[in-house]
């Protein structure tokens, strides 16, 4: 027993299993959240039928997708068609392995962490291209070509802005980046006399494009090329692409939070007197409010099982709020809380942007990438480099 507990591989294995087991569910609920937020922006209710307020919708969706007929088009290149979604999902999930969820919970802290994530997200493009190509359909091909061009273009500003941040952090390790922000007492986005805000904003725009989200969702522009590279996919294979897409959204938001916005640090991490209000009172208040919302929901639904689900949710939220009141547990989970909180804010902005803007055209997309984002990110790199040189 002692031997097992002392094994250095124990924690990574548990973390890996947790991520693989939990993330599909998280992705499902991200979809639900997206639909609900969009519905809120669009004066409608969103999914309301499956479970109370549509809370069981993701489970129903997953169940449906697994039961669907497995169709491989006769004209397709079968092995590549089979492998493409696997490749996409594999790379997207692998990127989680260096994600610093908190100072205690992570799979691995390697000294090339950020490079590893960027490499994995680049490889993910291959899945889309192969999927689009092997489908042997014109819409898929157009979608695949678009995604190849787009992702390669937007990886450049993404890389430049990340490099800028790394110059400030002086390390490539994801944990190290957060630690350096703690040492410096300021999030990287606000360091260098606020000059780092420019790369942070460019990073965010490039991140939206990199994950094929609106207004840069050309590879799967529904009104133009039907569903883009995954037009011919259905059932579970399609679900894998979907999973990969949401995983990469989570990953890219995770990078943004880690590299620019302090990772698992709370806001104003070095201001001592904010310790209690931000680390204890805020989470408790947040979960109590959410729990109260669930309780209110329980009172409003009529079916018995829906009441039960909402009730359990409310209790769960109150329980989580209670956990934050216990100092020992608080210390364990507070980093995780802040990381998730920030990531969710970013995901909310992703959805908000999707609900607001029309879609770019292919040539305009390339223009934005090459004419604006790349020069700005290069300028940001040089200016920040010079400022760093003279201040350090």
């Amino acid at each position: 027993m002692e031997e097992i507990l002392d094994n250095p591989y124990l924690q990574p294995i548990i973390a890996t299993l947790l991520i693989i087991a939990v993330f599909p569910l998280v992705a499902g609920y991200m979809v639900l959240a997206e639909r609900k937020v969009l519905a809120d922006l669009q004066v409608r209710l969103g999914p309301m039928r499956v479970g109370p307020y549509g809370f069981l919708q993701p489970l129903a969706d997953a169940f449906k997708l697994m039961l669907k007929e497995d169709i491989i088009p006769a004209a397709s290149d079968k092995w590549i068609f089979w492998g493409a979604p696997v490749l996409s999902t594999f790379t997207a999930l692998t990127a989680f392995s260096v994600m610093p969820f908190s100072d205690k919970f992570y799979v691995a802290d390697v000294n090339i962490g950020i490079l590893f994530i960027l490499a994995m997200s680049s490889l993910g493009i291959l899945g889309l291209i192969l999927g689009g190509w092997s489908s042997n359909s014109k819409y898929s091909l157009l979608g695949a070509l678009r995604s190849a061009a787009q992702m390669v273009s937007y990886e450049v500003p993404l890389g430049f802005t990340t490099v800028t941040a790394l110059m400030v952090a002086e390390t490539l390790s994801m944990q190290g980046i957060v630690q350096s922000q703690l040492d410096k007492g300021v999030w990287i986005a606000f360091s260098n006399y606020g000059l780092m805000l420019v790369p942070a904003v460019v990073f965010f725009i490039a991140a939206v494009a990199e994950t094929n989200r609106a207004p840069f969702d050309l590879p799967e522009a529904e009104s133009e090329i039907v569903a883009g590279f995954h037009t011919e996919y259905s059932g579970f294979r399609w679900a894998l692409f979907f999973l990969a897409e949401y995983a990469s959204i989570f990953v890219i938001c995770g990078i943004a939070v880690t590299v620019f916005f302090g990772g698992w640090l709370r806001p104003f991490a070095n201001v001592g007197f904010l310790e209690t209000p931000l680390n204890v009172v805020f989470p408790i208040l947040l979960f109590v409010v959410i729990g109260a919302g669930c309780a209110l929901g329980a009172a409003r639904v009529t079916l018995a099982y829906e009441k039960a689900i909402m009730g359990v949710l409310a209790l769960g939220m109150f329980l989580v709020a209670g956990l934050f009141a216990i100092p020992m547990i608080n210390e364990l989970i507070i980093g995780f809380f802040w990381f998730l909180f920030k990531v969710l804010i970013f995901i909310y902005v992703f959805i908000w942007v999707r609900g607001t803007f029309p879609r770019f055209r292919y040539d305009q997309l390339m223009q934005v990438g090459w004419k604006y984002l790349i020069p700005i990110s290069m300028g940001g790199l040089i200016v920040n480099g010079i400022v760093l040189l003279f201040t350090s």
């Binding site: 969009l38 922006l41 669009q42 004066v43 409608r44 014109k138 819409y139 157009l142 609106a214 207004p215 969702d217 050309l218 522009a221 529904e222 009104s223 133009e224 090329i225 039907v226 999707r354 609900g355 607001t356 803007f357 029309p358 879609r359 770019f360 055209r361 292919y362 040539d363 305009q364």
Partner: protein, 371 residues
């Protein structure tokens, strides 16, 4: 064999868009010849929704056929009904009472707003803005509620009868119309804030699908597409019907003839329609709602053509009578069908993404194109 090898040139890709495609607005099929993503030519294949409406007319009495016209441009059913009634009334020399004419104007303008709202929502959706469509449907709902209260139907209303109206207006009709106008004017401003100055929207629509005045005239294109090219042509002013000469309104025009200008013209038309509705509701006269039409209606031998400014352009009905209870021949001049001809010219040199924007900006309804 020779033709197919030239058509399928090695560098060019033939893309079949539709009839099952999310943004061809129904069952339009467009065959695109692409060079990369650049469109070299577009060929429309229509007829998937052909129901032989004109032939059906020959086997129905004049009154029986009236509901059929609603099924052509089903988002502007009231306008269709008006055009048909006007044509038959001209043929039979029927006088329509003042009050009926005024109510016709109100309902037709409300319908113009509903039709333009559907255009705006789907056009924005095609260009990738997914939110406006829901706002547009919210406002359109209010128009449909007024229709429902007036005649019981929401979409295919059959609101008008030959000689006037079937139903008297309901008690709060005037109040509802005014309330809608006041509320809607604020909402239009909201749409304009969302889209008019949005950089992506302007980038996607400016200079896209240009059709100049000469080309419009050559193709016989009418409606907002023609007005966006700078031609001040509106049948409500050019050859007024239903007493449109009594109302004070402007014809919005633009000069560029591109997708953005057509958007601006239609947005302006919202305001003009609201103006007309307000004036018409305020000046709604008392009196009978239906002229003298015999139960067995037999117009004299002859022919008549009547056209109105439908939301999408000139909607004309040509009716030939042989003196019996049924039309000898009926021909519809649908604006969507005529305007759709220009698609190829507008699409050449554009990108695939522009094709859906252009199909949206022509504002077609396939029920009307195929009839």
């Amino acid at each position: 064999m020779a033709t197919s090898t030239t058509f399928l040139d090695t560098n060019e890709l033939v893309l079949n868009m539709g009839p099952q495609h999310p943004s061809t607005h129904g069952v339009l099929r467009v065959i695109l010849k692409l060079d990369g993503e650049k469109v070299m030519g577009a060929d429309c294949v229509i007829g998937y929704l052909h129901r032989g409406v004109e032939k059906i007319a020959e086997n129905r009495t004049y009154q029986q056929f009236a509901p059929y016209v609603d099924r052509m441009d089903y988002v502007a059913a009231v306008s269709n009904g008006l055009g048909y009634c006007l044509a038959v009334e001209t043929l039979g020399g029927i006088e329509v009472p003042e009050r009926a004419q005024c109510v016709r104007v109100i309902l037709t303008e409300l319908n113009r707003i509903a039709s333009h709202l559907l255009w705006l929502g789907t056009h924005a959706l095609d260009i990738g803005a997914m939110t406006p469509v829901f706002y547009c449907f919210r406002e359109r709902e209010e128009v449909l509620k007024i229709f429902e209260k007036y005649c019981g139907a929401r979409l295919t209303t059959h609101a008008f009868r030959i000689g006037g109206l079937q139903y008297e207006t309901y008690d709060t009709f005037e109040k509802d119309c005014h309330a809608f106008c006041d509320w809607f004017e604020k909402k239009v401003v909201e749409y304009e804030e969302l889209l008019t100055t949005n950089r992506i929207w302007v980038g996607r629509t400016k200079g896209v699908g240009i059709l100049d005045a000469e080309a419009c005239k050559a193709y016989g294109v009418t409606g907002p597409v023609l007005r966006a090219a700078g031609v001040e042509w509106d049948l409500r002013k050019a050859q007024p019907y239903c007493g449109y000469e009594k109302y004070d309104f402007d014809i919005p025009t633009c000069a560029g003839g591109d997708t953005y200008d057509r958007y601006i013209v239609r947005m302006q038309e919202f305001h003009q329609s609201v103006r007309i509705i307000r004036q018409a509701v305020d000046s709604l006269p008392e009196g009978p709602i239906k002229g003298r039409v015999s139960k067995v209606f037999k117009p004299p031998v002859g022919e008549a053509y009547a056209s109105i400014e439908a939301p999408k352009g000139e909607l004309g009905y040509y009716v030939v009578s042989d003196g019996s209870t049924q039309p000898f021949r009926l021909r519809v001049r649908p604006p969507s069908f005529v305007n759709l001809q220009a698609l190829d010219e507008m699409c050449r040199g554009c990108l695939v993404a522009d094709v859906v924007a252009i199909i949206g900006t022509i504002d077609i309804v396939l029920g009307e194109v195929d009839r």
